[in-house]
């Protein structure tokens, strides 16, 4: 029964909810990026690579300028440039989108590892370069329980939730959003109605570069203040799963991201529980939880989640 008690205590601890928020934030950003790209019909598994590059670029520019905000800005610039490569290969040249995505992940892993030595003088991990300060909301932090969760959070977390609301509005309430969805569902019909299919798809993919690079920037200068090789650690793929589970909808993707965030927060908190002893040996089994959950959820729910009809299909104008 000790284990049930330990589980109960985890859920009763405000720290669990705070860690859920911090663990979900990169997933929310990245899955949002996935939504933008895929509703216009371009599969983007390069999210993992864009994240990694964003995490690296933000640290590099923070290191040289001393300003985390310039770091974030440059992360977004690099994310858009990198996403442009994906758009160029998959839209203009009608390449296989899944394979292009894996190529870009490999390039991002190579580039970030490659530049580490000339820029920071050592491989593996950079020094601490500074991080984005948490926002402390005065009245809020005094409230018991709630204050411990929301009292002092990274601005990234607020930006993530604002981004979800903004994206929902853009995709479902504006003309541009309607066009994006039309291009993803039926590019031929959209084209006949005078919608610029290529332009809209470029927009979708480039926007996914914006959000995925913010996800990466949060991992480095938002959370820890340095860059570590391969620090995105598969989160780009979990974000893809969250996007599918969230039915290609920004709000759904956010909810799914929160679920995955909660599962890793749970694994994390169980490991530091004082009631049960989690030895170094058993630790990997706890680290496995979010990935097992992802499989169960993707397999269990995917039947109900339908990708846009033209997702992954290059569009070629008949002229």
């Amino acid at each position: 029964m000790r284990i049930l008690e330990a589980i109960f205590l985890v859920f009763a601890n405000p720290l669990f909810y705070k860690i859920t928020l911090t663990a979900s934030t990169p997933l929310i950003f990245a899955s949002l990026g996935g939504v933008y790209s895929e509703i216009t019909g371009v599969v983007n598994i390069a999210l993992e690579g864009i994240m990694l590059l964003g995490a690296f670029t933000s640290v590099v520019f923070t290191y040289f300028t001393g300003s985390v905000w310039i770091g974030i800005l440059m992360a977004v610039v690099s994310g858009v440039a990198f996403a442009w490569l994906h758009a160029w290969g998959s839209i203009k040249w009608a390449g296989n989108q899944v394979v292009l995505g894996t190529a870009l992940i490999l390039i991002a892993q190579g580039v970030t590892g490659f530049l580490m030595v000339p820029i920071f003088g050592k491989p593996g991990q950079t020094d601490f370069v500074g991080k984005v300060k948490e926002i402390k909301i005065p009245g809020l932090s005094d409230i018991p329980f709630i204050g411990k969760i929301f009292g002092e959070l990274s601005p990234f977390i607020y930006i993530a939730f604002i981004s979800v609301a903004f994206s929902w509005w853009l995709i479902y309430k504006t003309k541009l959003g309607l066009r994006m969805r039309a291009v993803g569902e039926n590019p031929e019909a959209a084209d006949t109605l005078g919608v610029n299919v290529y332009g809209i798809r470029y927009f979708g993919v480039l926007m996914s570069g914006v959000w995925a690079s913010l996800a990466g920037a949060y991992l480095s200068i938002g959370e820890v203040g340095h860059f570590r090789e391969l620090m995105s650690g598969g989160r780009g793929f979990i974000a893809l799963a969250a996007m599918i589970l969230g039915k290609y909808n920004p709000v759904g993707a956010m909810l799914a991201s929160l679920l995955f965030g909660a599962s890793s927060a749970f694994a994390n908190q169980m490991q530091s529980s004082s009631l049960i002893h989690v030895s170094a040996t058993v630790k990997p089994l706890f680290d496995m939880i979010p990935f097992v959950l992802t499989i169960i959820v993707v397999a269990g729910f995917v039947g109900k989640s339908r990708p846009p009809k033209a997702d992954g299909v290059p569009y070629e104008k008949v002229s």
Binding site: V99, L106, V111, F237
Partner: protein, 344 residues
């Protein structure tokens, strides 16, 4: 253009373009590309030892390349070769530690069989989920990779752990180790390479001369037409994943039985991912895959030497990424080729 000619030309030109870009990058960081490339070649083919090392590195790559390439032919994208390789080797290591009483003629095939079955079973999970629920195999195999990694790290720090220091499993029985073909200094070249080449020839025959190969290719080419023609798509997806996984498991077996002789915490080291590049460069043709694996194997072996002259070995990943990019968007290369022709 002739289809067969372009199937060979496109990867070659892609590699050349990638080398051109990497030359520019090496110049940008202020190093001499000629020095870097000669170090790369010296490191991979410059001595007997280097050649043996390259062959050792190439062996599992042929098999993971075959695994991914076979999946492509059947219309499934197996990113999980990594995990299948780890699981195959891990479970085989667990059994093969106790094969001391068996003669090599039994224990070697038995260990290989276990690794292949485990790899097949692990991959079949993703195939089954795709066939039954439509869960995309890219997402499920990636998750299975992480699960395999964590599971392996649990096994070698827990139940299987021997000694102190680096987490590792006990050594497998001598009778389960692959025979050594050649010994150069500290490097032992095992019979693994023969297994890999035989597997490639076998896959070539399976794909081109058998009914199973025909059905699998039909499903990969057009699942709707195949279904209409009386071929079960669901059955073939699971089967294709299982065969793909068996090949990845075999890659794990050759590493276990021929190189390390025990399971180490980090057995795979990205070989499953390299399988994707290799399958693409080899154009999913088993014989092409042997040469593509040799290319990547040589790059990986030589990159250590390149590191000594001041070019980070990550350069090789960038080259590989650019090659995959160009092969995936092969129209870029085709356009360049056509332009060249017009100029002449």
């Amino acid at each position: 253009m002739n289809k067969k000619v372009s199937a060979i030309l496109i990867p070659i030109i892609s590699v050349l373009i990638a080398l051109l870009i990497s030359t520019i990058i090496i110049l940008l960081i202020g190093k001499n590309p000629l020095v870097a490339y000669s170090a790369l070649i010296r490191g991979s083919f410059g001595s007997k030892q280097a050649i043996a090392d390259t062959i050792i590195k190439t062996t599992p790559l042929i098999l993971t390349g075959l695994a991914v390439g076979f999946g492509f032919r059947a219309g499934v994208f197996n990113i999980g070769a990594e995990g299948q390789m780890v699981m195959g080797a891990l479970i085989a290591a667990t059994f093969a530690g106790n094969f001391g009483l068996l003669p090599p003629i039994i224990s070697i095939p038995l260990t290989i069989l276990i690794a292949m079955l485990v790899g097949a079973g692990y991959a079949a999970i993703a195939g089954f989920l795709k066939a039954k629920t439509g869960a995309h195999e890219v997402v499920t195999t990636i998750m299975l990779n992480w699960i395999a990694t964590y599971f392996a790290s649990y096994m070698v720090t827990g139940p299987l752990k021997v000694g102190s220091g680096t987490p590792k499993s006990p050594e497998i029985a001598d009778s389960a180790q692959l025979p050594i073909l050649m010994k150069v200094g500290a490097i032992e070249l095992s019979a693994g390479i023969i297994i890999a080449v035989v597997a490639a020839i076998f896959m070539y025959i399976l794909l081109n001369k058998s009914t199973t190969g025909y059905e699998i290719k039909a499903v990969g080419f057009n699942p709707y037409a195949a279904e209409y023609g009386g071929i079960s798509v669901a059955k073939n997806i699971v089967l294709a994943m299982a065969i793909s996984g068996a090949l990845a498991g075999l890659a794990g077996a050759t590493e276990l039985m021929g190189v390390h002789h025990r399971f180490l915490g980090e057995l795979s080291g990205g070989k499953g991912f390299d399988g994707i590049s290799i399958a693409l460069i080899g154009q999913n043709n088993p014989i092409g895959i042997i040469f593509a694996a040799l290319l990547i194997g040589a790059l990986r072996t030589g990159s250590n030497e390149m590191q000594f002259v001041g070019v980070p070995k990550h350069m090789v990943m960038i080259i590989q990424g650019i090659v995959i990019f160009l092969v995936a968007a092969d129209r870029i290369v085709r356009t360049i080729m056509i332009r060249k022709k017009v100029e002449k």
